[in-house]
Structures are given as structure tokens and as C-alpha cells.
């Protein structure tokens, strides 16, 4: 009985890799595989738009990885490969879009927002500083405060 269970558990462990569906190595050559990985994490999968070409299992991503792999095999430079893809799919395939007239807002926008926010914050703080007035506390109020604090200390 025990032996059967151990054998069953052992079999389950053995069968792990079968259903896990590990990603196959992208190419046989480790150097070009590294290049493909390096390129594919910079490129967007157009089907699952928040995944990189490296992450996505969409058929188009598989095809594009195949294309990139072939271009690597043809000894094309990273620049040429990226040009090949942007000529077909536009700058949208790049996770780091180039600085152009159409992308200035994208690049400058966050800094602009920080500047606007910081200016607004400084102006508000200055205005508020002007509004704060020292309130003189009378002898009587002092005594009352001390009394209240002393009472608070005695509470469990």
C-alpha cells in the first residue's frame, strides 16, 4: 500500500515537466538566443499589447520571433532589425519610443506635470505660511492646559 502511494507521488513529480510546458529555447545558438532575448524584451507584442515579444505566446509574437531569429542568423544589426519592425508596425512596437514631434508630449509630459505640481505646492505652502498667525495664550489658558494634560496622564 505504502509503496503504491510513494510510486504514485513519484510519478506525479516525474510528469511535472510534461504539463508545465516550459518555454523552448529560442534558438540553438546561445549567443543569438541572448541577442533575441535582449531585442524581444524591448519590443511590444501587438496582439497582447502589454506583453513584450519575449513574453507573449500569441501566434503573431511567435512569427515575429521567428523573423527576428532569421534576421539575427543573417547577421543584421539590432538597428536594422528594429527598423524592419518599425517600418511595418510603427513606433508602437518599441517600448521606448523615439523622441519625435508626435511623441514630445509623451516624453515631456511627466516632467511638465511634476513642475506644475511642485509650483502649485510651493505657492499653496507660501500662502498658507502667510495665513498662520501666532495666537497669544493667556496665563489662565496656560494653567487650564497644564491641568488637562495632568488629568490625561492619570487615565489608565
Amino acid at each position: 500500500m505504502n509503496i503504491k502511494w510513494i510510486a504514485l507521488i513519484g510519478l506525479l513529480f516525474l510528469s511535472g515537466p510534461v504539463w508545465a510546458g516550459e518555454a523552448r529555447p529560442l534558438t540553438d545558438d546561445p549567443a543569438s538566443e541572448a541577442r533575441l532575448k535582449h531585442l524581444a524584451v524591448e519590443l511590444r507584442c501587438l496582439v497582447c499589447q502589454n506583453q513584450t515579444l519575449a513574453d507573449s505566446n500569441a501566434p503573431l509574437a511567435e512569427d515575429l520571433r521567428r523573423e527576428v531569429r532569421e534576421m539575427i542568423a543573417k547577421n543584421m544589426s539590432d538597428q536594422e532589425i528594429i527598423e524592419f519592425l518599425t517600418a511595418r508596425y510603427g513606433d508602437f512596437v518599441l517600448y521606448r519610443p523615439p523622441l519625435k514631434a508626435s511623441t514630445t508630449l509623451l516624453w515631456v509630459g511627466p516632467f511638465l506635470l511634476v513642475i506644475v505640481g511642485a509650483t502649485a505646492l510651493i505657492i499653496t505652502l507660501r500662502r498658507r505660511a502667510g495665513k498662520v498667525v501666532d495666537v497669544p495664550v493667556t496665563e489662565d489658558e496656560h494653567r487650564r492646559v497644564e491641568q488637562l494634560l495632568a488629568e490625561g496622564g492619570k487615565r489608565p
Binding site: L46, Q49, L60, D63, E67, R88, G90
Partner: protein, 175 residues
């Protein structure tokens, strides 16, 4: 009152931007190929595999290139629109069967009707990549000089055909 005016106006501006963002379709990525020469290919034909289909055969004509597949549900939605457009004779629609099984594509056409004079076969999706296809159906309007003038991402609907495709085709034909 004045105290709330500034935050309120900022809120409204943000709201307007978010509203515009909601209306944008993330699938509609402007194609860099519009205004450029349609990429060349020569692919076997679906119905007559020994024959070749190439855009070079289409020089001097305004035509549509429609990427479709029998596995694609959007293509089924689009199909009656293509049938009507083909029947109207306004513009020839050439098909590109994208990453599909030949027999399934043939069954699809014989079951639902064939709006295409010729269908090319893009088995490996390479023609698709050259045209920047990332999801079928996609349709290209190509002019007499073989330049892509318009790209439709997703299914064509009667309104788009009437308001965009047909006027554009007429204008290109007059050139």
C-alpha cells in the same frame, strides 16, 4: 467658491482627457505603410495552387487586399459586407488567406460565398508581417501605382464602406 474653482477646472480637464482616452481604440495603431508602396509578394493561389498571386498583376487598378482566415470570427462578421461590396462592382477585393488550413478555407468560401476573384495563401504569415498585419481581418486600399492609401483594422462595416472606402476608391480611380 473661488477656492473650489481651480481644483474643479483641473478635474474637468483630467476628465476630458480620460474621456478621449476611453474613446480611442488601442487596436487602431496608425500604419506606417499608408502612403508607401504595397510590399511585393508572390504567393500560391488558394483555389488554383499552381498559379501565383502577386500585387504586380494589379498595377493600374484600384483594389482592396483583405487579410482573412477561416478561424477568424471577425472575418465572419465582415463577410456579408465584402459580399455586398463585391456584388456592387465598385472595387475588386482580393483575399489573402492568413495562417489558415487550405481545406478549411475552401469549405469556408464554399459555405459562405466567395467575394474574391483571387485568394492568395499566406501560410507562414510572412506576407502579413510585411503588411504590418497583427490581427485579421485587415483590409488595404491600394491605388493604381501600387501605393497603400488606407488601412482598415478590424472588420469592415457597411458605414465604413459607404463613407470611406467607396469615396476613396472613386477618388483614386479618377486620378
Amino acid at each position: 467658491m473661488n477656492r473650489f474653482l481651480l481644483p474643479l477646472s483641473i478635474f474637468i480637464v483630467v476628465l476630458v482627457f480620460l474621456g478621449i482616452g476611453l474613446k480611442l481604440n488601442p487596436r487602431e495603431i496608425p500604419s506606417p505603410l499608408v502612403g508607401k508602396a504595397a510590399p511585393d509578394f508572390s504567393q500560391p493561389q488558394l483555389l488554383e495552387p499552381t498559379k501565383v498571386f502577386s500585387p504586380a498583376d494589379m498595377k493600374g487598378k484600384v483594389w482592396l487586399l483583405n487579410f482573412w482566415a477561416s478561424w477568424c470570427s471577425g472575418c465572419k462578421t465582415e463577410h456579408p459586407v465584402l459580399m455586398d461590396l463585391a456584388k456592387s462592382g465598385e472595387v475588386p477585393i482580393y483575399g489573402m488567406d492568413y495562417k489558415d488550413q487550405r481545406d478549411e478555407a475552401m469549405t469556408w468560401l464554399s459555405r459562405w460565398g466567395n467575394p474574391y476573384p483571387v485568394v492568395g495563401v499566406d501560410d507562414a504569415g510572412r506576407v502579413g508581417i510585411n503588411y504590418g498585419v497583427y490581427g485579421v481581418p485587415e483590409t488595404y486600399v491600394i491605388d493604381k501605382q501600387g501605393v497603400i492609401q488606407y488601412k482598415q483594422i478590424g472588420p469592415l462595416d457597411p458605414e465604413t464602406v459607404e463613407k470611406k472606402i467607396i469615396p476613396l476608391v472613386k477618388q483614386l480611380e479618377a486620378q
